[in-house]
């Protein structure tokens, strides 16, 4: 059992946030103003919400509703402009159907951004008062969905941080949790290993299909794009190709069977190791994982990255001691101890699981303390040149 927030729909939250989320970029100023007036809320801003692409439109609607219904969120104040293609009312209804508590403030209905900020502030204050009365209670550990992510990787990532997280993933799956791995671009060159780990033929085919679909999208990119397919930092850190990066990345997933492949921002329905179709861009990937219901992220890095999430604690595990010492205040755990011969992978894995449980019960992560609340969406059809 863990001490966490039991939501009315039976989902388990590890945080009790009230978030203020614009459903369109044009409402950002209102959200920022509410954040200034009511410091207890989590204001999220982003450049999305109005698009002529109906596929992207549907996906954004699902993502916003998914974020609002993440069990770490006590309640959400949605702020719309009123004329955009992502319809605020639809986001609210979809979130409410998933059991979320939310309210909608529409700028054009309120009159202007000042009036909208007044209305949103009022709702935000009342949500915060309600949220403050909710207490942590005993909740089953198997209610946790743990998101796996890696970013700013180096060639040590695949030798220390990722295999340590993989062993931790095995422990957590055995405890009944769901572990959700992501970033399909980082399966190119490693899909044969994941496919062999599939629980059945259907999942095996889904794994191969989702990687092939991602690779086709990349092949369609204009060759004039001219960039490398891994980042300059990856290359400086010793990674040579996407295959090498992938083979290191997938070690995060551990050795348990893949039981399900879900779409971007889709909540898994099975417990165990799950794969979500997200892009290699860390923030876009994390947003999809959180919209899919993950309450905690484990994020491995080699070069060191500070990023976090507005709604979920992110536990940073770094691959080498040099980066740990350099970025100490942005990182939580040092798997460089494995390379230094100070800890075994099994010891590191147990430390990761202990940290996950402590964070689930309220321990703050480095990204939370530093106030990192990055938020980005996958743009459907444009995957970019760098995985």
């Amino acid at each position: 059992m863990i001490r966490a927030y039991m939501r009315p729909n039976g989902l388990v939250g590890v945080r009790n946030h009230v978030i203020v989320l614009p459903t369109v970029v044009c409402a950002n100023a209102v959200v920022e103003e509410v954040g200034r007036r009511v410091p207890g809320v989590q204001p999220i801003t982003h450049p999305y919400g109005c698009t002529l692409d109906p596929v992207a439109n549907d996906e954004m609607t699902r993502v916003f509703a998914g974020i609002a219904s993440n069990p770490n969120v006590y309640a959400t104040v949605l702020v719309a402009l009123g004329c955009e293609t992502v319809v605020g009312q639809q986001v609210m209804e979809m979130a409410q159907a998933a059991g979320a508590r939310c309210a909608l403030v529409t700028v054009q209905d309120e009159g202007d951004t000042f009036a909208a900020a007044d209305a949103a502030e009022k709702v935000a204050r009342s949500f915060l008062e309600e949220a403050s009365k909710v207490e942590r209670v005993d909740c089953p550990e198997d209610g946790l969905i743990i998101a796996l992510e890696c970013g700013a990787s180096d060639a040590f990532s695949g030798l220390s941080a990722n295999p340590a997280v993989g062993k931790a993933a095995d422990i957590m799956v055995d405890m009944g949790m769901t572990v959700m791995i992501s970033e399909i671009t980082e399966y190119m060159g490693a899909e044969h290993i994941a496919a062999a780990q599939a629980a059945n033929d259907e999942v095996k085919q889904q794994i191969l299909d989702v990687v092939a679909r991602t690779e086709r999208n990349l092949a369609a990119i204009d060759p004039a794009c001219g960039l490398s397919d891994i980042t300059p930092g990856n290359i400086e850190g010793g990674l040579t190709t996407i295959e090498e990066k992938s083979l290191g990345c997938i070690r995060k997933g551990g050795s348990r069977p893949y039981v399900q492949v879900v779409e971007y921002a889709q909540r898994p329905t099975k417990k165990g190791l799950v794969m979500m179709d997200t892009p290699g861009q860390d923030i876009q990937s994390l947003t999809g994982l959180m919209a899919g219901g993950a309450q905690i992220g484990i994020f491995t890095t080699g070069r060191g990255t500070p990023t976090g999430s507005a709604i979920a604690p992110i536990i940073k595990v770094v691959s080498n001691t040099q980066a740990f010492n350099r970025m100490r205040r942005n990182l939580d755990l040092n798997a460089g101890a494995v390379l230094d011969g100070e800890k075994t992978l099994d010891e590191m894995a147990r430390e990761i699981v202990t940290t996950v449980l402590a964070v689930a019960e309220g321990k703050l992560t480095a990204s939370e303390i530093a106030g990192h609340r990055e938020f980005a969406l996958r743009r459907y059809g444009s995957v970019g040149c760098i995985y």
Partner: protein, 98 residues
Amino acid sequence: MRAKEVRRVRAIQVDASDNVVTLVQAAAAGDMACWDGGCVQLVEDVPAAHKVCIQAIPAGSVVTKYGSPIGLATTSIEPGQWVHVHNVRSARGKGAHA
């Protein structure tokens, strides 16, 4: 006169079939990179976390790490040489269409 002692630097071979090893710390030309299973003398400086060739890799053939292909050699690579973007290309993603 005694020969200068050769410095040994730890390296990791992930899978016994790999034709490269990963250096745990930076090493210089002349240093020996040693892993569980052997040592190779470096012919050039190689940064930490980067790869060193331990078996001759002919141009166009597969570079193996983690027991799986990580790319194709764009030129022949000899034991002790640094293995990186200057002599390996990806065969996947955009690399497949390069």
